[in-house]
């Protein structure tokens, strides 16, 4: 049966739409000219300028510190939440489910303003600690949802089998449940990490003077800085993400 060509055309145009702006940005990071439409030859000077800026490194350090710690904590909390939601059916779990689910649909800015007012009401100074708390709060729900999806395919008779064979709770947890859930927990962790590294809006509300993260730095550069230097920084970040995604993609392909 003959098929319409229209979906193909939309797909191709869509891909151009997705990648054209990114491509222009990467090319311009190597442009000696300050203006994007004039090519004045290949140059790495914007990269030099970028590497000479110590505030970028400080921001990167903050970002990584917060992302790693928030990811680890949200992986633990999210996995527990998913387990509880899957295993039990009760009023408590209904409330729990609403509590886990609502942050997913809450606009970022709301969570930001809420936490800002909360921290200032308790007179907690804004620093990396408050950003960490905020990031864990929005990451928990994502981890929980990813692990919950994984649990839906989980065969609980394995646990009963282990019990029948005399395993205690800890053995079951460490030798049966966690190894089988590991891919789901890791996938949730990866999602949490990338959300934390990339979060701007919530972080903007709960960060203090000394706790600038990379997205906050990029934002102030977009507002007040030199465009070519941001191009250079963006190119490096894009390379890092593409590499990470490609690696995880290849790893998954190998597994299956």
């Amino acid at each position: 049966m003959k098929r319409s060509r229209f979906p193909l055309v939309v797909c191709v145009l869509g891909m151009i739409f997705f990648y054209f702006p990114i491509l222009v940005l990467v090319i311009n990071s190597f442009n000696a000219s300050r203006f994007s439409t004039v090519w004045e030859g290949f140059s790495l000077k914007w990269y030099d300028e970028l590497f000479a800026d110590p505030t970028i490194w400080a921001a990167l350090r903050n970002t990584m510190l917060i992302a790693v710690s928030a990811t680890l904590v949200s992986m633990v909390l999210g996995t527990l939440a998913a387990f509880a939601l899957h295993r039990y059916r009760s009023r408590l779990q209904d409330a729990h489910y609403t509590l886990v689910y609502t942050p997913l649909v809450m606009p970022d800015i709301l969570m930001g303003i809420g936490l800002l007012l909360f921290f200032s009401a308790l007179r907690i100074p804004l620093d990396r600690g408050t950003i960490f708390i905020a990031h864990v709060t929005f990451c928990v729900s994502y981890v929980a949802m990813v692990v919950l999806a994984r649990l839906q395919d989980f065969d609980f008779s394995l646990i009963e089998a282990a019990q029948d064979l005399g395993a205690n709770t800890w053995t079951i947890l460490w030798r049966v449940l966690l190894p089988l859930l590991a891919p789901g927990i890791l996938a949730g962790g990866l999602l949490a990490f990338s959300l934390s590294v990339d979060d701007f809006v919530i972080t903007f509300f709960v960060s203090g003077p000394g706790s600038t993260t990379l997205p906050i730095k990029i934002y102030s550069m977009i507002k007040y800085g030199k465009p070519p230097v941001i191009n250079a920084l963006s190119t490096l970040i894009l390379c890092a993400t593409f590499l990470l995604i490609w690696t995880s993609y290849r790893l998954r392909e190998k597994q299956t």
Partner: protein
């Protein structure tokens, strides 16, 4: 359950233990979200009903409805209205692209499918700010797009592509399109296209088979796709902030302005509460329906959408 075979008092003990276990695994996330999500949200709602203390826009003592009254002043309804229609148009545009896009992906040869998925996912994983910035550069009067459109004679030297509602819409679609494509693709992949062919054999033309068989078949995914664009679009703050102008401000920008610029915490809270109600109420409604369906006595449930 093996516990039903045990004698009575053992059963009670087992039930108690099960209850305790439930609390133990539930409490960590429950308490965290209660303290850092529910309480802050309730604070926002509460501050809406607090008066402003003049010099610094802080929260004064007592309770008042002044903020609610001030939300009716001519300034706010215009912004609320704009936020809603900009989000609606962005959602419609995303759906119009996502449906054929997802359809094509689902019907592509198996070898090409995973590549297409990766290509759609990649922009989603790359930095949000960087993608907005890329458009700012393109739309800039010194940018390629501006130059190209000038060459075509579509715009004049002095015309601005940036800092208007069109730019906000464009970048909203750019940012949220992958979110709309993925659920459509996921549902289309499971859809049995033989149904469309059967409809065509029975005399339906291609388009009406698509509209009357395919689209109803992926109905749930279409709702998901529309919501994952519409809800974040309602709360958007950064996009109008970077590529929008004064005439394309959205609720998010007003909230930030009331906090950081002309400090007025009750006003900021009032707007935030309005935003919360307009996004959370429809979501909770859908959630309740989903949960009810999940409660139905089907031992294994298959979800068509993530």
């Amino acid at each position: 359950m093996s516990s039903t075979t045990l004698p009575g008092n053992n059963l009670a003990r087992l039930n108690r233990r099960r209850r305790l276990q439930e609390w133990l695994v539930t409490l960590p996330s429950f308490i965290w979200l209660l303290a850092f999500f529910l309480v802050p949200t309730l604070i926002v709602l509460a501050i809406t009903f607090k008066p402003v203390e003049p010099p610094y826009g802080n929260i004064g003592p007592g309770w008042t409805l002044a903020t609610l009254h001030s939300l009716a002043n001519p300034n706010y309804p215009a912004i609320i209205w704009r936020t809603v229609w900009v989000s609606l148009i962005a959602t419609i545009l995303c759906m119009l692209i996502a449906i054929p896009f997802g359809y094509y992906m689902a019907r592509a040869p198996q070898s090409r499918k995973s590549l297409l998925v990766i290509l759609v996912m990649l922009p989603f994983w790359t930095s949000f700010l960087i993608r907005i910035f890329a458009w700012k550069i393109l739309l800039h009067p010194e940018g390629y797009l501006h130059k190209f459109l000038r060459l075509l004679g579509l715009i004049q030297e002095g015309d601005l592509l940036l800092y208007n509602t069109g730019a906000v819409l464009l970048v909203l679609v750019y940012t949220y399109l992958p979110f709309a494509i993925l659920p459509v693709y996921a549902a289309a992949e499971k859809f049995d296209f033989a149904l469309c062919e059967a409809a065509q054999d029975l005399g339906c033309n291609r388009l009406s088979a698509f509209v009357r068989i395919f689209l109803p078949g992926i109905q749930r995914a279409l709702v998901t796709a529309a919501l994952v664009v519409f809800i974040p679009a309602l709360g958007s703050y950064v996009i109008p902030d970077i590529v929008g102008g004064n005439a394309s401000e959205m609720i998010g920008n007003k909230i930030a302005q009331r906090i950081f610029v002309d400090r007025n915490l009750p006003h900021a809270s009032g707007l935030a509460a309005l935003l919360a109600l307009s996004t959370v109420i429809p979501m909770l409604f859908i959630l309740a329906i989903q949960r009810q369906q999940a409660r139905a006595p089907a031992p294994r449930r298959n979800r068509s959408t993530p």
